[in-house]
């Protein structure tokens, strides 16, 4: 607790020596270090939802891509993709309703549509995705291939939304860490969703003993992880520019989870193993499986750590006030 009286700052009004836009790094005189923002009430449940939504969205997209562009050997991927998509259908909405603080009024989510609210947009994405994925999956089970091909298109489009709308949901807040780099966060979430989907399909393929599409899935996972890595780098650079870089620093638990989990497991390990495979050439199945698992774990760790680090950044007035000085620069 600083001494009660705060040193006076230059007057702000007419002869404003204090310019909010100047990027000086002198510590801001805060109001007794009290939080300037309110942190969100989102925790593991929301992180799990985002992970599952991204995973099932990505799986539906890959399945559709395989169905349209792929050959007979990709039939397994299509079937398994559509089944994985059902995860989002069966676990998504319950998780969200469970996280509401007045769950008995969950249906009010469908009361209105506001294009400025990613959660409102997301509600319709999730609903349409669930509807069409369900129809595609039943068509798949019943063997009506034509029907499945018809319904899989809207499902895939909604699936694309599922992989990334949650990023825009987070960034459309005033929480410094989420709001600092809208595009990078979208990249991270999209890449992470695809990576998770591809990894899940690899694992499912191995379990089914049909590894025909393994090389495609590996390539796809590599691309997704690379996208996520680019997003992460861009985000880091942006945070440093805004002076709120220490949000993801190691000394906080969320920072460590982000560094080790999201970046480490989610991107570094898979990139290294794929690079190793390219150079070394000898496919070692156990390595592929562990990489897939690492991608999945990294994807969930990313969501968990971004949520936690974001909430912490809202609690630190130095960061929220500094972030709130930058907006006019853009």
């Amino acid at each position: 607790m600083t001494l009660v009286s705060t040193p006076s700052r230059a007057p702000y009004g007419r002869e404003a020596k204090y310019d909010p836009l100047r990027a000086d790094n002198a510590p801001i005189t805060t109001y007794y270090d009290q939080p300037q923002l309110k942190k969100s009430h989102w925790g593991t449940r929301v992180a799990l939802y985002i992970f599952i939504a991204g995973l099932s969205g990505g799986a539906q997209l890959i399945a559709t891509a395989a169905d349209l562009a792929g050959g007979e050997q990709h039939r397994g991927v299509v079937r398994r993709g559509r089944h994985i998509a059902l995860l989002g259908v069966f676990f998504g909405p319950p998780l969200l309703i469970w996280d509401l603080h007045s769950p008995d009024r969950f249906y009010n989510m469908l009361r209105i549509f506001r294009r400025t609210s990613p959660m409102s947009i997301g509600t319709y994405i999730l609903s349409s995705f669930s509807l069409f994925s369900l129809m595609t999956a039943t068509a798949q089970l019943a063997g009506w291939r034509k029907a499945a091909q018809l319904t899989q298109l809207p499902a895939a489009i909604a699936g694309a939304g599922m992989t990334t709308y949650t990023a825009s949901l987070l960034t459309a807040t005033s929480t410094p860490l989420w709001a600092a780099a809208p595009r990078s966060l979208a990249l991270q979430f999209a890449g992470s969703s695809f990576g998770a989907a591809a990894a899940a399909l690899q694992l499912a393929g191995r379990v089914d003993g049909d590894e025909a599409a393994a090389p495609v899935l590996e390539g796809l996972a590599l691309a997704a992880t690379a996208t996520e890595f680019v997003g992460a780098l861009a985000a880091e650079r942006r945070h440093r520019a805004l002076g709120i870089a220490d949000a993801a620093s190691v000394n906080t638990a969320s920072g460590a989870l982000y560094k080790l989990g999201a970046l480490g497991l989610g991107t570094a390990v898979p990139l290294a193993s794929y690079a190793g495979k390219l150079i070394g050439g000898r496919p070692r199945p156990w390595l592929m499986m562990t990489t897939a698992l690492a991608v999945l774990a990294g994807s969930f760790a990313l969501r968990l750590s971004v949520l936690a680090a974001g909430n912490e950044s809202a609690q630190r007035p130095q960061q929220s006030l500094r972030f709130a000085r930058r907006e006019k620069v853009r």
Binding site: Y107, N108, L110, R111, I112, F113, R114
Partner: protein
């Protein structure tokens, strides 16, 4: 089962009544008109339910701000500034604004508590009993200690054995009766209040 059905039906009816999508499609803005719920439409200040209102004077400091006290079914439901008074023109300080909180404070007593000599806890006693007991104690103490003249013959007609503290926050009428009864009637001289604190 019917109860649950009815509740379900109420919810659906409520949802449809306040559903914004059709109003949104019909052109109302989703940020204002379309989003307005029935609760907001029929909203009224709770003072409209008051069946009685009167002007009281703030019970805290001596500036004498006027307040409007609203009551419903014999209970005060709100107290705020009286805009007609030239003293406070509707404004109130933090204490005056808390008058409603004072009247409805959970720490308020509404029954008589009695502690017997050497007792270790309060007991509840009816008001009438307490009044009789106090009257008897006053008479007994006065009779035993009343002095009409000092040894040197000076007239005093007083008792030094009873005292009264109170009433800078009491009404003038209350202070008047206290002085009249205690001084004019019983001959008490130890009569004081917060004026000297």
């Amino acid at each position: 089962m019917t109860k649950i059905h009815r509740r379900f039906a109420d919810r659906v009816a409520g949802f449809v009544r306040d559903w914004s999508l059709p109003r949104q499609i019909a052109g109302e803005s989703p940020y204002s008109k379309a989003a307005e719920s029935s609760l907001s439409q029929n909203l009224r200040p709770r003072l409209t339910e008051a069946d009685k209102v009167g002007t009281i004077i703030c019970p805290y400091c001596a500036v004498g701000c006027s307040q409007l006290a609203y009551a419903k079914n014999g209970r005060i439901i709100h107290v705020e500034g009286d805009p007609r008074s030239p003293i406070n023109q509707g404004t109130l300080c933090p204490k005056g604004s808390a008058t409603f909180g004072w009247l409805t404070s959970e720490r308020r007593l509404d029954h008589v508590l009695y502690r017997a000599p050497y007792g270790e806890h309060w007991e509840r006693r009816p008001l009438a009993w307490a009044m009789d007991r106090i009257a008897w104690l006053v008479k007994q103490t006065r009779d035993e200690t009343f002095v009409d003249e000092l040894p040197d013959g000076t007239l005093v007609n007083h008792t030094l054995a009873m005292a009264s503290l109170g009433g800078a926050t009491l009404d003038n009428e209350e202070n008047y009766l206290i002085k009249k009864l205690f001084c004019g009637g019983l001959g008490m001289v130890w009569i004081e209040n917060q004026a000297r604190v």
